[in-house]
Amino acid sequence: MKIHPHDDVLEEFLLSQESGHLTVLRHLQWCAYCRSRLAYLPRERHAEAKPPMRDGALAGYERALEEGRRTLEEREAALDEERDEAPGLFVELLDQPADQRETLLRNTSRFHTWGVFELLVERSLEVALLDPARGENLGLLALRLSDHLDAERYGAERIADLQARAWAYIGNACRMRFDFTAAEEAFLNARARLKEGTGDSLEMAVLLDLRASLRRAQRRFDESLRMLGRAVKIFLGTGERHRAGRSLVNMSTVHHEAGDPAAGIPLLLQALELIDPEREPRLLLCARHNLIDYTAGVGRFQEAQKLYREARPLYRSFNEPWVQNRRSWVRGKIARGLGQLKLAETRFLAARDGFLKEGVPYDTALISLELALLYAEQGRTAELKRLAAEMVPIFASGKIHREALAALTFLRQAVEAEEASLEVVVRVADFLRKSEHDPGLRFEARG
């Protein structure tokens, strides 16, 4: 039907429906997701309409479904058992010296189960957040194990799907340890395995989401945004709202790193509608913190303060230094923007001391620069000098890339020579912010 039906026609249609159908219609009226599902449902066949289903045919399908259900129950029970045994086997495997794990996996059939395979893949992603090299090793172990899985029992296509995910997680771990060549190769392997898989679009979306982070790290922002856009579309189309929310948070980060935090704000607002707080409270915190940070970053300090007040209970539920230091930092930015300079200094100092204590040199350097800006604006040379002296542990850490080190050295020298103008501090601070995500950027001493 290409013409909108008249009100009378619609009314007649509604009145002709049973109450059960009306409930469905009302639901469809408001649920975009279910409306999209209709596209998959059997469509009207103009050429050869099927004859109505006879009772015999219905009974036949019911028998087939009953048989299918029985097989499923048996296989699911077997899988559950494998999953129950997997953590013990995982510990046994990791108790071995690293060079003996592959031999154990190869020679011991107890390990050749789906349960161990998927646990290794899952841990690979989780562990990589704290230790990318270790996460990568777990992913590689998972792949070694998958060579010994019974393809008839588990299904070659299902194995290929999980191999693709393992490669994607390995790619992500390589990206996190800045080996972009290895990451690229791993993602290509993931894509190749997906071609041999079940064709599940969800797996493709998982891969796109992770690969987009590599593109972001490579500063290929347009490609990254395109990949994430595709991932969001797939996730929403398959009812995976939480994952769509996660990809939207990633999209906002891309805009931020590309120097356009304003573009990230509407994406974060959209993400907050989709994220399931019970499933991943940390993602919720991340989205809300970034929203406050970006809002302050574009100079909307009153709004940022309101957002911060709303997020306060959430911050309190993450009483860990990593979160609390960032909380103090963003509060300092808001206070500074609102002209509350003394309060801003207190917040920045709290954040800096926290980062120093935690041994996070880059963030210590960035927050020190925020403080340096405050002091330089107020002409507080003595404090600037003291701050420069306190930056010594950052230099000594060896964890700062050489261009950032060059910029900080330049600033320190200028401060000690009492030649650190506001312009110099602003330039070094800008450089440090940009170079955090682009270690290849070069600091030019003279503007």
Binding site: R37, K50, A64, L65, E67, E76, L79
Partner: protein, 82 residues
């Protein structure tokens, strides 16, 4: 804390009332219908750690996609020029 997940059999149960109409509409034989359901459900079971938010939607979509592919293959066999 992770919410307990329904078993795949329970998820299948919630779709059972609508699946015969789907198989019939695509002209799927009973034997093929059973194979499609088993394959889709086993794939769902293999992805439980992905913690799908809408496993019913995933299963229905996968079964319908498989029916569509099966019907298209059958049409190609019947009419190789198509």
């Amino acid at each position: 804390m992770e919410r307990p997940q329904d078993s795949c059999a329970e998820i299948l149960d919630r779709l059972t009332y609508m699946l015969p109409a789907v198989f019939h509409a695509f002209g799927i034989s009973e034997a093929r219908a059973q194979a499609i359901v088993e394959d889709a459900c086993l794939t769902l079971a293999s992805k439980r750690r992905l913690r799908l938010q809408n496993p019913e939607g995933w299963l229905l979509r996968t079964i319908i996609d498989a029916c569509r592919r099966s019907a298209e293959e059958e049409e190609r066999v019947e009419d190789p020029s198509a």
